[in-house]
Symmetry: C2
Subunit: 145 residues, 2 copies
């Protein structure tokens, strides 16, 4: 109760967090959707493959904050586009082995500079507030069941 009558959505932390994330994600995805024609889920899969090497759908699900069905569909689109291949793990044939093709590596090589540039712009706009924001995000991402 208390001062609930003065409750303003724009002062509500979960809303503010979500609104900021939506704007940033939208602006970022527009930037490379035009240029490279890929979506956010596809971007995440590509970048994780580049970083982690051959991995399964399960690995990506665990580390990239995406449902397995989302990963599966993103991977299928990337395979169709020729950016990755889907192989079978000989040790455990339930697992896929997702791997970047040469074409996929080339795409990532063009994507990453755009991403880093965007992050630099974000940090520049934040100035001295960047460190505080990142520390807060770390706290929210750390435990969280």
């Amino acid at each position: 109760m208390t001062d609930a009558d003065r409750f303003d959505l724009n002062d509500f932390l979960p809303y503010r967090l979500n609104a900021a994330a939506s704007r940033i994600s939208r602006a970022f995805s527009e930037r490379y959707r035009e240029e490279f024609g890929i979506s956010i889920p596809e971007w995440r899969v590509l970048v994780h493959l580049h970083h982690a090497g051959d991995v399964s759908v399960r690995d990506i699900e665990a580390r990239v904050d995406m449902e397995k069905s989302k990963v599966s569909r993103a991977a299928s689109r990337l395979e169709t586009a020729g950016y990755i291949t889907k192989g079978v793990n000989d040790t455990d044939r339930r697992l896929l082995v997702l791997r970047l093709t040469d074409k996929g590596e080339a795409l990532v090589a063009r994507l990453l500079p755009v991403a880093m540039e965007y992050q630099d712009e974000m940090r520049a706009r934040l100035g001295p507030l960047a460190a505080g924001l990142e520390a807060g995000l770390s706290a929210l991402l750390s435990d969280e069941a």
Copy 2:
């Protein structure tokens, strides 16, 4: 280029922001979806109506970070559920006048304490980092075309 080979998605600020927002929103919406049966867009409309009084779809669109079609559909669901009414603005008959019913006011009165409690828990988990996070969010939300 540079250190692009070591690029880790989990160190990428836009990704971290989005992942944190997703988790918080999901946890929050689960909490009141079970109890009150409403979605995030519906929650935003209800809360904004409570705060701002009678408003049009356009007003909500501008202040609550939602597309007008999303607002329109949320409002229709809320009307069907008996939480709001849709009237016509006599001065400009293109505009709707969205208004909370008594039932809607009663729902908001039960919703807001849950929201404030959730925000308090967030701030408690963040501890001294909360201020820095909020300052960073303010910077991201301020200008942004």
